[in-house]
């Protein structure tokens, strides 16, 4: 029984292979930005411009989420006045942008990465530490 179980896992694990991690870029402070440097492991897999474009747009989206604009200011004041109970019915600006980011990543995966046998993960699942790019072997089969 245990043998079959591990064999099954091994078949599955064969379909998950290498990963590339895009780390955070802290040169602008604590804002959530990712390094746009093209990893050498992806050289044979995809176009450098497309990769950099993806990361650049993600960085812009995260910057928008953390922006100190009038919207976040009013949201903060309103929340303070209502003792933060307003967030029971309303989403924070950050959460709204995170949803946008999730949609963007999904779209990028469908259009650009999946056809090349790669997959992007949403950094929020990794605590905004890294963007992981998988090589999805099972898909390319």
């Amino acid at each position: 029984m245990a043998e079959t179980h591990s064999l099954q896992d091994m078949r599955q694990q064969a379909s998950i292979a290498a990963k590339v991690f895009i780390q955070r870029d802290y040169t602008n402070g604590t804002m959530c930005q990712f390094q746009t440097k093209f990893p050498s492991e992806l050289e044979t897999r995809m176009d450098k411009q497309q990769f950099e474009e993806t990361v650049r747009i993600l960085n812009n989206l995260y910057a928008e989420a953390e922006k100190l604009g009038s919207q976040s200011f009013f949201e903060g004041c309103l929340a303070c006045l209502t003792a933060y109970t307003v967030f029971i019915c309303m989403e924070t600006h950050y959460e709204k942008v995170l949803k946008k980011i999730a949609k963007y990543i999904q779209e990028q995966n469908d259009k650009i990465y999946a056809p090349r046998g790669l997959l992007l993960t949403d950094p929020i699942e990794r605590g905004l530490r890294v963007i992981t790019i998988f090589e999805d072997r099972s898909f390319s089969r």
Binding site: A18, T27, L68
Partner: protein, 491 residues
């Protein structure tokens, strides 16, 4: 095949009923899905199915709560009727509003996630390790402490590697030794509030101490007023006899006012200069350190700094306490955050085994990155990741109780630092202590005490090079992976 399987299933179910253990078949899910908070590796306590998150020691928090509730309760019961009649009924209304605000912000500070960073997944940790160890080689000596230097707005900032969480700590992040978590924009661990104060709950904390200052002054002033007015009518002693609770309130408020108001003032200063308590105590951005030393995070003017701290966007919790642990996931997603090896199921191990860090080195053998419990040995003995054996005492994925002496004194320093009510009065001795104990500040000591020799306190700068692969290390990895495969298949 099908028949055989179902027969085997029947056999299994028969055996399990005879041995009176709960019926389990390998093809069905054994246990109900667990929520991520249940397998959280830090030393936090969770309530309400993961909605509430607090530190381990909450005794002092209950004391805070009792003090506030009792003092306010006595005020409303004994002083407010008199004041409402003699002066104006607005007094209890304002008092009530203040009290509710204080309570709300206190609970919000204590119960929310301060900005805990989830620990690195095993493959991330392995990738980082590989990048770092490449530079160290296999000379057999312990490597220098892992730091990365970056330049933020013209200031050089050192990012330290957290041995517990297996990440390079983002700037302003610190590892709380009490909660055993890396917390973003770590301010301090507050025992009065029963939680760390970090990026996500700093504004609530500030609102709490600010409103508590107002409440304390309010109660103090009006209780004194009450006694004075009452003693005009009946004499001082009979006034005191009439409402003995007022005496208690005056005493509590008198002692609280100095500490709470002082603390509010201190944090107002911190907010306006965009510093954390941690940075201020260490003097990270003090001009005493150097002529060109300035705070790279400050926005330049007080107003923007205040807005940023109090009204800036509130980031969501990164640890997803109420999500479900995907333990038997036959998917592409690697094991979720917060799962450490010793909690791993069989399929998780093989998952981790699958992740090779590089795409180009397409060896089909998976690399086992972490301890494989099936053979009973832990990583230090195998040292599969620390190529060539430097720093073999690296216990990846092990809990980090601060048991040895160095971290005990670190503990002591940590405990002394954040205890409120005395920050202003005791700032100088604290700073002196910090100077002596510079080696042992919470964020400088990596959590596993055994690692101390590995990380020199002065923290050599250690530039991490771009990821490239050392052929020698590839061989040892290859060897380990083959060994690992053999082990897997033998199960």
């Amino acid at each position: 095949m099908h028949l055989g399987e179902s027969m085997r299933e029947c056999e299994y179910s028969q055996i399990s009923t005879r041995s009176s253990t709960p019926m389990e078949t390998p093809y069905k899910k054994r246990t109900p899905k667990k929520r991520k908070w249940e397998t959280f590796p830090g030393r936090n306590k969770f309530y309400c199915d993961g909605r509430i998150m607090m530190a381990k020691q909450t005794g002092v928090f209950y004391l805070t709560l009792v003090l506030i509730l009792v003092t306010c309760g006595l005020f409303f019961v004994f002083d407010c009727p008199f004041l409402a009649l003699q002066l104006t009924p607005i007094i209890p209304v304002i008092g009530g509003a203040l009290f509710l605000f204080v309570l709300g912000t206190l609970l919000r500070t204590s119960f929310s996630d301060p900005g805990v960073l989830p620990r690195a997944t095993p493959d991330e940790a392995a990738d980082l390790e590989r990048q770092i160890d490449v530079a160290n080689g296999s000379t057999g000596y312990r490597p220098p402490p892992r730091t990365k230097e970056i330049v933020i707005n013209g200031q050089t900032v050192k990012l330290k590697y957290c041995f517990t969480c297996k990440i390079f700590r983002p700037p302003r992040t610190s590892h709380c030794s009490l909660c055993d978590n890396c917390v973003e924009r770590f301010d301090h661990h507050c025992p009065w509030v029963g939680n760390c104060v970090g990026r996500r709950n700093y504004r609530f904390f500030y609102m709490f101490i600010l409103s508590l200052s107002f409440l304390t002054i309010f109660i103090f002033a009006f209780v004194i007023t009450h006694i004075i007015l009452s003693s005009h009518q009946n004499g001082f002693l009979s006034a005191l006899k009439e409402s003995p609770a007022s005496v208690l309130e005056v005493v509590v408020c008198f002692f609280s006012v100095w500490s709470i108001v002082g603390l509010s003032g201190f944090h107002t200063y911190l907010i306006s200069s965009n510093q954390t308590t941690n940075e201020d105590i260490k003097g990270s951005w003090s001009s005493k350190r150097g002529k060109d030393n300035y705070n790279p995070y400050s926005y330049g003017n007080i107003f923007t700094n205040c807005c940023a701290a109090l009204c800036g966007p509130l980031p969501p919790s990164l640890i997803d306490r109420r999500g479900f642990v995907e333990s038997d996931a036959p998917q592409l997603a690697p094991p979720t955050n917060g799962i450490t090896m010793y909690g791993a199921t069989h399929s998780q191990q093989s998952h981790m085994a699958a992740a090779t860090p590089l795409l180009q080195q397409q060896s089909s053998e998976p690399v086992i990155l972490t301890a494989s419990p099936e053979n009973g040995t832990t990583l230090p003995s195998r040292a599969s990741l620390t190529l060539g054996g430097p720093c073999t005492s690296l216990p990846l994925g092990q809990p980090t109780p601060p048991t040895s002496t160095p971290s005990l004194s670190c503990h002591e320093v940590t405990d002394m630092l954040p205890i409120h009510g005395h920050t202003l009065n005791h700032s100088h001795p604290l700073q002196e202590q910090m100077a002596h104990h510079h080696y042992l500040t919470p964020e400088e000591v990596p959590s596993p005490p055994g690692m101390l020799p590995c990380s020199s306190p002065l923290g050599h700068s250690h530039t991490v090079q771009a990821s490239f692969y050392n052929p020698a290390s590839q061989d040892s990895l290859h060897e380990d992976s083959v060994r690992g495969l053999v082990k897997l298949s033998s199960v």
